[in-house]
């Protein structure tokens, strides 16, 4: 007879603790690829998110309450983001979702947030379709129609390329979208796409596609993929004797790119959201704080965007005066001229931000700032 009483007492205690905790904190949910193939995306954005939450709490929190981060790892696996979002919404009762860097995984969670009428802010999902899921889905980065245009102009004006090849990933919404927008600018401007080849996520052998690209004799190759595949592509291309520049989008952004690709990446470029070399005061301040928090780790674009996503959310909660879903949504939609680490965020009627793109040049095993393109 003793055990049930003890269990009951424990259960009652647990409920009490649970209640008291949920009363004085605001729960923010985050899902990210903290492990797996694209762990680099999840880790950097997560570090930015954690830093922002800690700063806000140190400064007294929001509406007199502390922010509590509840995060889930989707292991870079298809399907896991939806599970994580459901868990965060139904069990943890978070007031908003932060995630993801990848467009494909953001698209998995977005319908769930939309149905629950809980706002979701994607730090770096650039595919146009993400925010089209519904009026509760936001992002704090530019979108691929812009990024595709920037890279098409860059190819034409800076690389002086007339004939290019495109290698895109068929199982990736981001990659296909970016390839499409690139073509839409590059071809009307007089450029020729001489070869278009596909690969799948997780592929390691690209020699077949690259041999076909070599036969097409192009000036440059556009690879709108993620860093894991892109680094191997460039490496194998150099082994096959292809010497032209390769260039990609923000999916290339991770230190693993250079770890895998090494010297093969010399003379390659990619567009992204942010450069830690930017001398802007806000950026320098963010870089210093970030390095202090994460043992000298240099922040990447997704660190800055994760950081900004949290601040944009905190700002909206303050203006809404509540964490109630619909009201918070309206406040988020009204975000204007919000200065953050990745630039100024203004959300348009499609809930997208428009920000400058940064082009990074890869030289001597290092990523260096090349130029900024205004929207």
């Amino acid at each position: 007879m003793k055990t049930p009483t003890l269990l009951l007492a424990l259960a009652a205690l647990a409920t009490l603790v649970g209640c008291s905790r949920s009363r004085d904190t605001i729960k923010v949910g985050e899902y990210a690829s903290l492990t797996g193939k694209e762990a680099g995306f999840g880790q950097t954005s997560h570090h930015g998110v954690v830093l922002a939450i800690e700063e806000i709490n140190a400064a007294g929190g929001v509406l007199g309450k502390q922010l509590e981060l509840v995060f889930e790892d989707n292991q870079t696996k298809p399907g896991e983001s939806a599970t994580a979002a459901k868990k965060l919404l139904s069990r943890e009762k978070v007031v908003a979702l932060i995630g993801e860097v990848s467009s494909g995984r953001s698209l998995e969670a977005a319908p769930i947030a939309q149905a629950a009428k809980i706002p979701m802010i994607a730090p770096a999902a650039t595919n146009a379709k993400v925010t089209q899921v519904g009026n509760y889905i936001f992002r704090v980065c530019f979108i691929d129609p812009f990024q595709g245009t920037v890279m098409a102009k860059f190819a034409k004006d800076d690389l002086k390329a007339k004939k290019v090849a495109i290698l895109s990933s068929v199982s990736n919404a981001y990659s296909l979208g970016l390839a499409k927008y690139f073509k839409e600018t590059f071809v009307p401007a007089g450029g020729v796409v001489a070869a278009e080849k596909n690969f799948s996520e997780g592929d390691k052998d690209f020699r077949a596609q690259l041999t076909a690209v070599k036969a097409a004799n192009v000036d440059a190759v556009f690879v709108p993929g993620y860093y894991t595949e892109s680094a191997l592509i460039v490496r194998q291309a150099r082994e096959l004797g292809l010497k032209m520049p390769f260039f990609g989008g923000d999916g290339w952004e991770d230190e693993q790119l250079l770890n895998i690709g090494g010297e093969a990446l010399n003379g390659c470029f990619y567009s992204t959201h942010f450069s830690p070399e930017n001398t802007d005061a806000a950026v320098a301040k963010f870089v210093a704080k970030y390095k202090g928090r994460w043992n000298g780790e240099v922040p990447g674009a997704f660190s800055a965007l994760g950081y900004d996503a949290v601040y944009v959310l905190a700002d909206a909660i303050k203006r809404a005066g509540t964490t109630d879903g619909p009201k918070l949504r309206d406040a988020l939609a009204a975000t204007k001229n919000f200065a953050g680490a990745s630039g100024v965020t203004t959300l348009d009627q499609d809930r997208n931000a428009s920000k400058p793109a940064t082009i990074i040049a890869l030289k001597g095993g290092k990523a260096t700032f090349y130029k900024t393109v205004a929207p």
Binding site: T76, F199, A208, K214, E239
Partner: protein, 311 residues
Amino acid sequence: MTTQSESLNSQLSTPLSEFLQQLLNGLSLGAIYALIALGYTMVYGVLRFINFAHSDVFMVGAFIGYYAGKLVPENTIWGGLVVLALSMLGCAVLGMTIERLAYRPLRGAATLNVLITAIGVSLLLEYSGQVFFGAAPRTFPAIFPVKNFSVGGLVISTNQLSVIVVAALLMVALQFIVHRTKIGTAMRAVSLNPKAAQLVGINIDVVISFTFGLGSALAAAGGILYALNYPSIDPLMGVMPGLKAFVAAVLGGIGNIPGAALGGLILGTVETFVNGSQWSTYKDAIAFAILIIIMLFRPAGLLGKFTVEKV
């Protein structure tokens, strides 16, 4: 790495040199499939079950190479060979341990039980790999010196060549072991009839242990060669190549050693040619469609012998 192939950019690839280049790409990929397929086929030949953990032994092989590669100087032939030997040895021990702990207690049980155990061991290796090695991909060191030669419009990398050469040497060695040595004769005897083999004094446990060790060592070699060509390794890297190698083994006739080699080479070459064509999206679909077609016309595989099962 790039300086070796200077004359290339100027030369426009002719259709013939493009064809030869793709053939070379395909053969080097196929050689790796063949090495993994040999392990599947050997275990099947002796025990009549598919060891699904084999593709994860392949992964462990690459990881042993990754850690051993840090102990020896990079870009030396002897260092590379030491790494290769260490990895093959480590995986042979791993394969024998798996057999001893997971499969031997089930010997004589229904095939389905063993099969499900094999899937369990496979998942155990994959996810303990994520715990011990971490889930993020790692960069495999360049343990062998790399050079690129150009012949006409054709670029040959020493990595691709060494894959084909090492695979061929190992296959010849395997053929020799199976057909010319005492233990090989015992393996074939166990494969033919385990009870009769026991009756003539063959120690079945030793033979099966040896088969697992040999197959796992080949998987380790495959893992190292794969990692040299595609230097990004992670705990789930064995899944796709493992599946392809399994298909290769079935394609060539499961249980048949030259069949596994042939199946691997066919699959690798077909995959590469499809990849280089406009149908690259359907790469895996076409590879598996070929399997289905061959199975329809030759149910025992290309080199397999169809046997009627007696009830």
